[in-house]
Symmetry: C2
Subunit: 454 residues, 2 copies
């Protein structure tokens, strides 16, 4: 009896070990395909080259959706459709910042308006500049000093944060809330140092929040911010001209793009993977987030080519408008609620196509633990951690209906050199780093579907 | 008694915990310095811009040594000196490969001679081409087919290797031993597909080994290799012209550069850290291995600025000639043996300045285990592994006298896109990735010196 027990145990263990081995072999197949296929890379080249500046409401944003729609159709999705919704939008035609020294020639800085900055008059806004390093400093200086001036937010990125997303989190309040704060204290425009650790001439734009009171708001490159700061030390009364030509669009029609492979056992349980196709007006949006679009979309190709029989429905959602008003994610939640669909899990990729490093999971601890058990299969490919953490902006609204969220994380050192700037171009994409990302995302979705997260 | 015992244990544990905390605080100081200082970055810019193509025996190799010598002197090394030695050398003046179609114009390919290729006659070598995928195929085809021909080694890099150094190891035999094998079978020249996964027009050179019989040997870019291969399918009798103007130099005088901070307690025990300053004639040598030079050299600056009182002598060795004959490492071993010095440990950095990933240790298992206990301090900065593995080419000879060897390992995905080619330029260096490397190398050396490896 005792021996029989041990025998049964041994058989069970052998099955377990060989199941694990089989799974490793299959995961290797996924990566072999990912590392030898360049479809996603070519898709990204198309988006960057033929449809840069894919901001909500632009022709390029629609061209990009159309391209991806055709890609899904020819790759064999069971269904592909556009989810229409209406939302406010904004567009920027042009902008400039000039330093106007008391003596000498005007100096044009490298600048891009923040979204949704209002326009200046055609001749721009000309005024003295107050340099500050924080929102608190605006409060401290008070209305008497700030009123009628251009406020220049110039606190540098702190390079001692090892994870650059922490550095970004520490620095971004100047861009996100600086102009609002300056307006509150009577400023007539705001200039913001680009939120990057990079020393270069690329202005990095991004979204800024306003109360009722809006003032023109514009980012300048870090090297130009240093120049402006030095100029103000030499000549504190130096005036600057800020010009923005932009337009609020009260409402426009736009779309999320949805493509599916139906599940074989539980088609009503939907695993959502996706990323955002919009990109600021000044950029090709290669890492942010064309890369996410083509990596998550490639999961469909891989499932088809490897003939994976998914239990649940795998749905790729290409979100519009992560950048400006985050309307795509909200619209998708509305869609899901209307249809009363069950979203089994949602995964987002919005950290660029760098070497894989981790998945983070925003869910109940048991779910985090269950998913982290898949880590062993992905360690050979660079996934050193699967842990509790950030989900994503586009999938964030799904929290309302308790969907477990996940984010694909990459080596972050280079991301903010390019983020929201004209530096975020296709040549910054490394083929292998993109391919490894595709392998990681496909593998985790395959494992989640096969073994479940309960 | 029992309680007193527990009390003592608690005090001991508290001390232990706080020692660990203190150490983490100090490691953070090292990184704070590394992440805010750009001296190494500027040193690398100098090397790449003012002294590219630093091959053994060139003026630029000496200019690079002189620059680093001055850097060490002004950074406060206790001693700085050049270790002179004599060794054979080789130089390449120019080279070319032309496809000569039966009809139509000659097509010039992107090529660079392998070192130490002999010269061709001034008019080049013109012959039919035999494409092979392996050394074994040369043997199989035999002298009758190979004799009098140009052999074209065109096996592609296998992209399914996740670690690119494994991909390199799998592919490099064509370059390292292909021409030798071709010569053995009577070939009159050898063309080698560049050893890279990158699809581009950069020829990647490197060293090739010869027996007595030498034939001109040259690398062409991967895209040109594809073109040549397609051409041969269309017109198998297509002839190619290979031209090389190069020169063997029987003996030359060159140097390793040595800089030290004397130890305070055990100055006779020497911790050696270093990398190689030479770079192929066709490249700025930014990642290979200017990056290693400036990162390891920066340890000296950090020890001085943070006022670290090292027990042992910290010696930075900048090796000449890793690329061609590996003569610098051998010369350094000779120096150590002559002086009967004790080398406590040797660390090399020759994997580029990418995001940190690991240290590998080539030593007795107890030493590996001892060093791997420092991993916890470096995990926040990207060092996920300290494990048994590769030491380095330059420090390799020290194995003869049983020196524990270590290598600094980085994310390897991009390395071979640039390796040994004109693509390995300063703009491919990411400031933060370089700075993180400096922090990691300085920290591990600090810990090894402070706590020992026994």
């Amino acid at each position: 009896m005792k021996y029989r027990y041990i025998f049964v145990l041994l058989v069970l263990m052998t099955n377990l070990v060989s199941a694990q081995e089989d799974e490793s072999v299959f995961i290797k197949k996924i990566f072999d395909n990912a590392l030898t296929n360049q479809q996603a890379y070519h898709n990204l080249e198309y988006l960057c080259t033929n449809a840069p500046g894919r901001l909500l409401g632009t022709e390029n944003s629609l061209a990009a959706l159309e391209y991806m729609k055709q890609y899904f159709e020819k790759t064999g999705a069971d269904s592909v459709f556009l989810q229409e919704f209406r939302t406010p939008a904004w567009k920027c035609d042009s902008s400039s910042v000039f330093i106007l020294p008391a003596s000498g020639k005007a100096i044009r800085l490298h600048s891009d308006a923040l979204g949704p900055s209002p326009s200046t008059p055609a001749e721009g806004i000309m005024a003295e500049v107050i340099e500050v390093k924080s929102l608190a400093e605006v409060e401290k200086l008070g209305k008497e000093v700030i009123s009628g001036k251009i406020v220049f937010f110039n606190r540098k990125w702190d390079p001692t944060f090892v994870r650059t997303f922490e550095g970004y989190g520490d620095a971004v309040d100047q861009r996100a809330h600086g102009p609002e704060k300056a307006a509150e204290y009577g400023a007539i425009a705001a200039i913001v140092r680009s939120v990057t650790n990079s020393q270069d001439y690329f202005p990095h734009t991004g979204s800024t929040r306003f109360n009722d009171q809006k003032i023109p708001a514009i980012a300048i490159s870090t090297l130009d911010a240093d120049l402006l700061s030095e100029t103000l030390i030499q000549e504190p009364k130096t005036r600057v001209n800020v010009f923005v030509k932009a337009e609020d669009i009260p409402e426009t029609t736009t779309f999320n793009l949805i493509a599916e492979i139906k599940g074989n056992e539980k088609p009503e349980e939907i695993i959502v993977i996706g990323s955002h196709i919009d990109a600021w007006f000044n950029t090709a949006g290669a890492h942010d987030d064309g890369a996410g679009v083509v990596m998550t979309s490639d999961v469909l190709r891989l499932f088809r080519e490897l003939n994976i029989k998914n239990k649940r429905t795998i749905r790729i959602v290409i979100y519009m408008d992560e950048e400006l008003y985050q309307s795509g994610g909200k619209a998708y939640l509305n869609y899901v609620k209307e249809k009363a669909e069950k979203q089994y899990l949602a995964l987002e990729s919005d950290g660029g196509a760098f070497t894989p490093s981790m998945f983070t999971v925003d869910a109940q601890i048991q779910v985090v633990e269950r998913i982290s058990r898949f880590q062993k299969y992905l360690e050979p490919y660079g996934i050193d951690k699967i842990k509790a953490g950030w989900g994503g902006v586009d999938i964030g609204p799904l929290k309302e209906i308790n969907v477990p969220l996940m984010s694909y994380g990459t080596d972050s050192q280079r991301y903010f050199d390019m983020h929201h700037s004209a530096n975020d171009t296709f040549d910054k994409i490394n083929l292998r780093e993109l391919q490894l990302g595709i392998g990681c995302i496909t593998s985790i979705i395959y494992l989640i579907d096969k073994y479940g997260i309960e």
